[in-house]
Amino acid sequence: MTADVELEAVTVRFGTFTAVENASLKIEGGEFFSFLGPSGCGKTTILRTISGFIEPSSGQVRIGGRDMRGIGANKRPTALIFQSLALFPMMTVAENVAYGLRVRGASKSARMKKAEELLNLVALGDQGGKKVDELSGGQRQRVAIARALAVEPQVLLLDEPLSALDLKLRQHMRNELRAIQRRVGITFIYITHDQGEALTMSDRIAVMNAGRIEQIGDGRSVYTAPRTAFVAGFVGENNAMRGKVASVGEGFAVVETPLGAFRGTNPLGLTAGAPAVLFVRPEALHIGSTENACTAATTEVAYEGNLTHVGLRADDGSHLLVLLGGGETRSAPPIGARVGLGFDAADAIVLPPG
C-alpha cells in the first residue's frame, strides 16, 4: 500500500536558526520524489520531519491525508534509510531485516521467511547469516533497504543513501533503487545533493536552497525551465551573464550585459530596468553562431570522447563553457583562439538574480 505525503507551510527552527522555511508540497502516492540541494540546505531536516523525529515549528505534515501531529516516528507509516545506514552491528543480516517484524511480534519462522524474501528482492539471498560488518558497502546499502521495506511502509524515505559508495556502484544502485521502487510501488522520497542522481531516478524533484524550496518539477522542467537563478545555476552547468533588462516583448527580454545585449526568454515577465541574469546552457552555446553573438578566447579544451568541454574567457573576463557533442567534437578550436559565440534566443532564459 502506498500513501501521498503533503507538507503544508512547514517551518522547522532550531533555536533562532530556521532550517526549513514554509515548505509546501504534495508528493503523490507511488511517486519517486527527490529533494535536491547543496549540503546544509535542510534536506535531512525535511526528511526527519516527515518521518517524525522532528515536529515542525509550524505547519502540518499529512501522510495519506492524515495529520501526523503528535504521532511518533515509531507509529508513522514511513521507514527511513539513514545516511549512515544505522544497521545493528550485533545482529546478523537476516536479524537486521527482521527487526521491524520482531517489534510487531511476528513469530520467528514468519520473520525469517519474510527476511529471506526481502533479501532475495535486494539480491542478498545467501547473505542472511552473515554479520553486518562482513558485507561490502553496496551490500550493506541493500540490507538497509530490505530492513526498511520489511515493515511494509507506505512511504520510504532515503537520506543520501548512495553517497558512501564509489561511482560505479552508485550508478548501478540508481537503477536498482528505481527498479525496487517500481516493484514495491510505494512512495519513495529521496534526498541527494547529486543532481545526476535526482535527474535520472526521480519522477519529480524539489530543488532546495537555504531551507526554502525553490522549484518543484520533473527533471526535464527543472533542467530546461528553471524559475530561479539558484536552480539554473545548481542543476546542470550553465553560463550566467549578469546585467539589466533593456527591453521586453512577446515573452522575450533583451538583457544589457558587459558582453553586449542578448535576447532570451522571459518566463517570469521581468520588466525593463530590472536587474537580471541571462542563462545559456553550454550545449546551447554555439561556436560561430551569429545570433546573440559575442567573442571569447579559448582557454581549455577537455576531450571526453562523445563530448568535448571547451572553456573560454569572454572579453569582460568572465568564464564561459561550451559543450560540443557528437560530430561537433572534431571542430573544437585550438587553445588561445578567439572565436565568435552565439545562441538561439529560445534557448536562453532571463531570471532575476538570486
Binding site: 518521518s51 517524525g52 523525529f53 511518533g72 516516528a73 515509531n74 507509529k75 514511513t78 521507514a79 527511513l80 539513514f82 545516511q83 549512515s84 545506514l85 544505522a86 544497521l87 545493528f88 552491528p89 550485533m90 545482529m91 527487526y99 521491524g100 520482531r102 517489534v103 510487531r104 530492513r147 526498511a148 520489511a150 515493515v151
Partner: protein, 338 residues
C-alpha cells in the same frame, strides 16, 4: 607434606615461571619467530632495566607472592610460632573441612552458620548487582545519549565527588542517615508516616543501601563508555521501525552495550561479595555477610590459615560464578576488558 618443604617451593614458583618465560622468549628469537631490535636495544639499558624491575617487583611482591602465600597458608594448621615449620606443620584440607562441617576433622554436622552466610552473601551480591545495574543503566544512558556535554560533566562531578570520602566514613554517613534517630526516621516521624522509628539497620536496609552505593561508579563508567560508543542513528532506526522504548533498550542498546554491562556487573559483583566496610559498619546484629566472618577468622580467632581458606573460597566461588555467567552470555574476557 611438611610446610618446611612446601614453603620454599612457593617462593621458587614465580622464579621458575619467569625463567620459563625468559627461556621461551630466547627460543623464539633463536628460531627467528621474533625479529627486530631486542627489548634493551629498543628502550636502552637504564630505562629497560628500570621498567623491568619496577613492573616485576610490583607484580611479584604486590600481587603474585601475597596470593601464593595465602593459598599456601590456607592448607596449613594453626600453630604457635615456636612450632611453625616444625613436624606438625603439614599441609591438609582441614581449614576447608572446617568451612563445611564446623570442625577440622569431624563430618558429623554441617557448619550451618558459615555456609548460610556464604550462600546469603553470594545471593545478596547478585541482587545488589542487579539493583545497581537497574539504577545505573538509565543514568548511564541519559549521560551517554541524551544529555549535553555540560550536563554530563556536571553529573560526573556529582558522581565522583562522594568517592573522595573514605569508604568507611561513607558507611558511617549511611549509619547516621538510617539510624533509629537518624535523618530518615526523623523525616518519617515528622511527616507522620510512621508512629515508631523503623530499625533500618537491624533490617539490613542500611547495609544493602551502603553496599549498593559503594561501587556504583564502577557500574556507571563501563555502561557509559559502552553506550556512548553507540551511534544515535541506531536508536532512531529502531524507533523508526516501530520499536517502543523498552524494546529499543532491551534488544538494541543492551546487546550493543553487552561488554560494558558484563564488565560493570562483574566488577560490582566481585567487589560487593568481598566488601567489608559496609557490612561491618552497617550490618545489623542478625546480618549474615561472609566477609566479616573472614575478618573474624583473622583478627578474632587469630586463625590465619582458616581466614586464608575462607577468603580463597569466596574468591574462587565468585570467579567461577562470573565465568559461568559469561559462558552463558557468550562473552569472552577480552571483550569485557575493552
Amino acid at each position: 607434606m611438611l610446610a618446611s618443604v612446601g614453603h620454599p617451593f612457593v617462593l621458587a614458583l614465580p622464579v621458575v615461571v619467569l625463567a620459563m618465560f625468559l627461556w621461551i622468549a630466547r627460543r623464539e628469537r633463536r628460531l627467528g619467530l621474533v625479529q627486530g631490535p631486542g627489548y634493551f636495544q629498543r628502550n636502552g639499558v637504564p630505562i629497560g632495566l628500570f621498567l623491568l624491575i619496577a613492573v616485576l617487583a610490583w607484580a611479584v611482591f604486590m600481587i603474585v607472592l601475597p596470593q601464593l602465600f595465602m593459598i599456601e597458608l590456607s592448607f596449613r594448621p594453626k600453630l604457635p610460632p615456636s612450632q611453625t615449620f616444625g613436624p606438625r606443620d603439614v599441609y591438609s584440607l582441614q581449614n576447608y573441612h572446617y568451612f563445611l562441617y564446623g570442625s577440622p576433622t569431624s563430618s558429623a554436622n554441617w557448619n550451618t552458620v558459615h555456609l548460610r552466610a556464604f550462600w546469603q552473601t553470594i545471593v545478596a551480591s547478585i541482587v545488589v548487582t542487579f539493583a545497581n545495574f537497574a539504577l545505573c543503566y538509565p543514568l548511564a544512558f541519559y549521560m551517554a545519549q541524551v544529555a549535553g556535554a555540560a550536563r554530563v560533566r556536571f553529573l560526573l562531578l556529582l558522581l565522583i565527588t562522594p568517592y573522595w570520602v573514605n569508604e568507611i566514613l561513607r558507611a558511617f554517613a549511611f549509619r547516621v542517615m538510617f539510624a533509629s534517630s537518624g535523618l530518615i526516621n526523623k523525616l518519617l516521624l515528622a511527616g507522620g508516616l510512621v508512629a515508631e522509628p523503623i530499625d533500618f539497620l537491624g533490617l539490613d536496609v542500611g547495609m544493602y543501601a551502603g553496599l549498593g552505593y559503594a561501587y556504583m561508579l564502577l557500574m556507571v563508567f563501563p555502561l557509559y563508555n559502552a553506550i556512548e560508543a553507540m551511534p544515535k542513528a541506531q536508536i532512531e532506526a529502531a524507533r523508526d521501525l516501530g520499536a517502543p522504548w523498552w524494546h529499543i533498550h532491551l534488544f538494541v542498546v543492551m546487546p550493543f552495550a553487552r561488554p560494558g554491562i558484563a564488565s560493570g556487573c562483574t566488577l560490582v559483583f566481585m567487589l560487593t561479595a568481598g566488601a567489608l566496610a559496609a557490612p561491618l559498619v552497617l550490618g545489623g546484629p542478625r546480618s549474615l555477610w561472609f566477609t566479616p566472618i573472614v575478618y573474624d577468622r583473622f583478627y578474632q580467632a587469630f586463625h590465619w590459615p582458616q581466614g586464608s581458606a575462607y577468603a580463597l573460597i569466596l574468591l574462587l566461588t565468585c570467579i567461577a560464578f562470573v565465568l559461568a555467567v559469561m559462558r552463558i552470555g557468550k562473552l569472552s574476557l577480552v571483550e569485557i576488558t575493552r
